[in-house]
């Protein structure tokens, strides 16, 4: 099957006070129709910037896509003019954001905000758009949609607002939905409802989803494929089953280990030591080296390439032919999986 979205070697840099920050540094992935890709990483790994780069929503002049292409349905979004990309935004590709509290405009009714995409892209009249807006509110499970459509965002709860965001995003039947941490700001029960709704709609509407999250549980529940990002680079890329059964990169292993499991009661959590360094601090070698438990001299010298192990890609020297490890007697696949945590 042909790829719906193909991101090739995307590089988005930010410039502040003359300093250059490589927020996204050579990221590539692809997405097929109806597929869900989970883009995972800690804060500062560049996952949100990646999503904003796809729709060319990086704030100029501070941020700039300096290289790479984003091929959507055969066309490169990076090369598109402002007018052309606007026809894609909200119509073919739409986004939902982390903060439903602040992502809706407080001075317009939710109906007005949903209608806006419909009149903009589908050429509907106000009346038709309103009918469709109410219909969409029903689709996302908002009770008494006829009344809710005339309400303002502050009159709705966080979960309801995120549903409105989803209704707005799906109003034009997009081929791709980019969900940037859609459940992070919601409480756990609402979170589960929103995820369920997204899964349900994905099957019904055959929308591909790029799901950005730091929550591995969310990935396990919704994604078909996983890409793990660290400091602007993809460090592991595979389908979701293999990823949870056999995480290859020490960072992915660390992420999975750090999720507390309900089956094994432990006294201590297992965090990954240290913090994500600022991109400018990493001069050479593997970007994860400063926090890696299995770091070797080669890791500090050169950065590994993304190594393809039968479709399971990983950026780590351990999987290259000339890996010699001193002192540690473990093998990479030993860490037990905790799928569905």
């Amino acid at each position: 099957m042909e790829n719906l979205l193909e991101v090739n070697n995307l590089k988005t840099y930010f410039y502040n006070d003359g300093a250059e920050t490589a927020a996204v540094d050579g990221v590539s992935f692809e997405l097929k129709k109806g597929e869900t890709l989970g883009l995972v990483g800690e804060s500062g790994s560049g996952k949100s910037v990646t999503s904003l780069s796809i729709l060319q929503l990086i704030q100029k002049p501070h941020g700039k896509i300096i290289d790479g292409e984003v091929i959507f349905k055969g066309k490169d979004l990076v090369k598109m003019g402002e007018k052309e990309i606007r026809r894609v935004r909200g119509n073919d590709i739409s986004m939902i954001f982390q903060e439903p509290m602040t992502s809706l405009n407080p001075v317009f009714t939710v109906g007005n905000q949903i209608m806006e995409v419909l009149t903009q892209h589908q050429g509907l009249s106000k009346k038709e758009a309103r009918v469709r807006a109410i219909e969409m509110l029903k689709v996302v499970g908002i009770p008494s949609a006829e009344q809710r459509v005339d309400q303002y965002p502050h009159q709705l709860s966080g979960g309801m607002r995120q549903r409105v965001m989803i209704a707005m995003a799906l109003a034009c039947n997009p081929d791709l939905l980019i969900a940037d941490e859609p459940t992070t700001a919601l409480d756990v029960t609402t979170q589960a409802q929103i995820l369920e709704l997204m899964n349900e709609l994905k099957e019904k509407l055959e929308t591909a989803i790029l799901l950005i999250t730091h929550d591995l549980g969310v990935v396990a529940e919704t994604a078909d494929k996983v890409a793990v990002m660290y400091l602007g680079r993809i460090v592991e890329y595979s389908d979701v089953e293999t990823f949870f059964e056999e995480p290859k990169h020490p960072y992915s292993q660390g992420l999975i280990k750090s999720v507390p499991s309900i089956d094994n009661r432990v006294d201590r959590l297992n965090p990954i030591i240290g913090q994500v360094p600022h991109p400018s601090e990493v001069k050479s070698g593997c970007r994860f080296a400063s926090r890696c438990e299995r770091v070797q001299p080669i890791c500090l010298q050169d950065e590994p390439n993304l190594i393809d192990l039968q479709g399971h890609k990983v950026r780590c020297w351990m999987y290259s032919d000339n890996w010699i490890e001193k002192g540690v007697e473990t093998n990479a696949g030993e860490v037990t999986s905790s799928r569905g945590a």
């Binding site: 729709l55 929503l57 909200g90 986004m95 903060e99 602040t102 992502s103 405009n105 001075v107 806006e116």
Partner: protein
């Protein structure tokens, strides 16, 4: 909303009473009394005492206050000391001229200030923003008497484009459109002088408010919906940015009426401002008191209007 309005109107009653007391007290505290400007210097002090007694100027202050307030409520604002004209009539004669001037300045302030603020904000850190920032500081700092005289010197005396003063061309018997244009010509310079500081303030306020709004998440949402930059800026951003500007809207009404004192004086504009200055110089207490009262009511109305507009502009505010 209706309930809130009634509540606010009721609240304004004690404030109004307070204002009348203050007005009365200030006039009592200021040196000199109307007798001293009225009397024939040859009059004996005995006769003067008698006259003061007859006029009620020797009554206890509360009695004087209630005498005054009773007359005010029946529509009698007193008579001028010198000519004996009814003050109410005098003010009503001057009111249209002042309303024309301040009204023009008011509209100008917002019609010019808001678009400039938006333009400045959307072009931040570019040349037009810097130019407008400098201009706005000049606008805020330049005193109106200086700016007004400068304008008269350049546009009226040197270039001869504009009349130097007054509201109509004296002696010209114009009708219809020509009359209207005559008004326009006369009102242009004084209203620019009067509006300038408010234009600058409105612009700066709109600019900072817009910049704040443009950083909000919902602007990113609007961008991601594929709306044009114009629609994002003018619909989504401006509508939110205007909410704090309403404060300036309310405050500018008394500011403009106050500014009219000086502007009218410079341009010899036959309004309440020049009346006020003349009255202060001539110690025309009844006129000053009436003008004070009038301005205070204006301030209250301006604030009330601003509060009502808040509720209209921001759906989160419900009274």
């Amino acid at each position: 909303m209706k309930k809130y309005l009634i509540k606010r109107l009721l609240q304004s009653i004690p404030i109004l009473i307070g204002i009348t007391i203050m007005t009365f007290a200030i006039m009592q505290l200021s040196p000199g009394n109307p007798m001293q400007t009225m009397i024939d210097p040859k009059i004996s002090s005995e006769e003067m005492q008698r006259a003061q007694e007859n006029l009620g100027l020797n009554d206890p202050l509360p009695v004087q206050y209630f005498t005054w307030i009773k007359e005010v409520f029946t529509g009698n604002l007193g008579y001028t000391v010198k000519t004996g004209q009814p003050v109410g009539q005098l003010i009503l004669e001057r009111l249209p001229a002042t309303l024309l001037l301040t009204g023009t300045a008011f509209v100008m302030a917002f019609v010019v200030g808001i678009p400039l603020g938006v333009y400045s904000a959307t072009n931040r850190f570019k040349a037009p923003d810097y130019v407008l920032t400098v201009l706005s500081f000049i606008g805020i700092s330049i005193p109106s008497f200086f700016f007004g005289l400068g304008m008269i010197f350049i546009f009226a005396l040197k270039l001869g484009w504009m009349p130097t003063s007054g509201m109509v061309t004296i002696g010209a018997d114009l009708t219809g459109f020509a009359k209207f244009m005559d008004y326009v010509k006369h009102v242009t310079m004084p209203s620019i002088v009067l509006a300038l500081p408010t234009i600058a303030v409105v612009m700066r306020f709109t600019r900072s408010s817009m910049l704040e709004v443009l950083n909000q998440d919902f602007i990113r949402t609007a961008d991601s919906k594929g709306l044009s930059k114009l629609k994002v800026n003018l619909k989504h951003a401006l509508r939110n940015a205007l909410i704090p500007v309403i404060t300036i809207f309310g405050l500018s009404i008394p500011f403009l009426f106050g500014g009219a004192y000086i502007t009218e004086h410079i341009f010899n504009w036959p309004g309440m401002g020049s009346l006020g200055i003349q009255s202060i110089v001539a110690r025309e207490y009844p006129v000053i008191m009436a003008l004070n009262l009038f301005t205070s009511i204006l301030v209250m109305t301006g604030n009330l209007l601003a509060d009502v507009m808040y509720a209209w502009a921001d759906p989160r505010i419900r009274y």
